[in-house]
């Protein structure tokens, strides 16, 4: 027990699947029991390792989607076609099955409930996951810090946590949620599909004068584009934190 209290080297722990939820046809949330989980901050991630019978291992990083609930953590996995790890975690990995996890890791792309500045979250596709952890952590802490989320997705069917986001946008005072659709819009939507641009960020974000903390997460091209827009609009680059999700083998 004394060893676990020392924040020394990062070690692998065996986690088991407690339950799973389908978010979209290509994304699944895994609720893992990780005995001795030390807790984490919103925005942190874990490394997950799979080992085949012949000893071959494959390792991937996944953002944690929610605040810790005792020894339970939630990850949302997006299927990467032809990937080595994600198809297994989505289609095969079942309740009670073990998987190795180490973490939490990452101390930069994090939001702390003690922070007093307004927050802008900009998500591209599966980049919503660590940002959802921040929205949930805000709620869990009873924080009144104003949050705005701009969520770029291909189609309405690609929205993760759709029901919960609708509910939170209604019930969590000070949380605004807007969507930018790139391929297909809902019926009656006022704008045609388009890639996120200056107007979206300017209209649905915060003025730079409010010195918001900006968190941008998504595929590399999306993150570069949004970070450039924020800096061009006058946001301090040091307040624009980015996390790129990319093709690392899935």
């Amino acid at each position: 027990m004394a060893r676990a209290a020392v924040p020394g080297r990062l070690t692998w722990r065996v986690a088991k699947l407690a339950e799973a939820r389908t978010e979209t046809p290509t994304a699944r949330t895994l609720v893992l029991d990780v005995p001795g989980w030390p807790g984490h901050l919103a925005g942190q991630h874990v490394d997950v390792r799979l080992t085949a019978e012949d000893g071959y291992t494959a390792q991937r990083s996944y953002s944690i989607a929610a605040p810790a609930d005792g020894d339970r953590i939630e990850l949302t996995i997006q299927a990467v076609p032809e990937g080595e790890v994600s198809p297994y975690l989505i289609d095969v990995y079942g309740t009670g099955d073990p998987v190795e996890v180490r973490g939490p890791v990452g101390g930069w792309f994090v939001w702390r409930p003690t922070s007093m500045d307004p927050v802008l979250l900009v998500a591209g596709g599966s980049g919503i996951v660590p940002l959802m952890a921040m929205i949930r952590a805000r709620r869990a802490a009873g924080s009144r810090i104003p949050f705005r989320l701009i969520y770029s997705v291909r189609t309405p069917g690609d929205v993760y946590y759709a029901d919960e986001l609708r509910r939170r946008a209604r019930d969590d005072a000070g949380l605004d949620v807007t969507y930018a659709y790139t391929r297909e819009v809902p019926e009656g939507w006022p704008n045609p599909p388009h890639r996120i641009g200056v107007a979206d960020v300017n209209t649905n974000g915060w003025p730079p004068a409010l010195t918001p903390d900006c968190y941008v997460c998504g595929p590399t091209g999306f993150v570069e584009a949004v970070a450039d827009i924020l800096v061009a609009l006058g946001h301090d680059p040091r307040r624009v934190r980015t996390e790129r999700f990319g093709p690392t083998g899935g």
């Binding site: 924040p7 020394g8 080297r9 990062l10 991630h45 874990v46 490394d47 990083s61 180490r102 973490g103 890791v105 990452g106 101390g107 930069w108 792309f109 590399t220 091209g221 570069e224 584009a225 450039d228 934190r241 980015t242 996390e243 790129r244 999700f245 990319g246 093709p247 690392t248």
Partner: protein, 92 residues
């Protein structure tokens, strides 16, 4: 800013170094501020451009694209090459 100056393919960022570096260091190094030995740019290790499609991970400066650090993990050792870093400021 949208395209790297060389065609290096898609990159991730220093956030992905968090796990591999925490295997070695007791602190989270990705939240540290590094100074590039090539151009002097200062920024978070988490914001470096990381190319993971090489043997190991190569982190480049987001301003000048020079190599800041490289990390290779073998079954029995970790190689950390920090030739491109003048200093690291680690929040304590």
């Amino acid at each position: 800013m949208i395209e790297p100056r060389m065609d290096l393919g898609p990159h991730l960022d220093g956030n992905v170094l968090a796990g591999p570096l925490r295997e070695i260091f007791a602190m989270d190094v990705t939240a540290a501020t590094s100074r590039c030995a090539s151009c002097g740019a200062v920024g978070a290790v988490a914001a470096l451009h990381v190319y993971a499609n090489a043997p190991g991970m190569v982190a480049r400066c987001p301003t000048c694209e020079e190599v800041v650090l490289r990390m290779v993990r073998t079954p029995d050792a970790a190689w950390l090459d920090m030739r491109g870093t003048v200093s690291l400021r680690i929040p304590m």
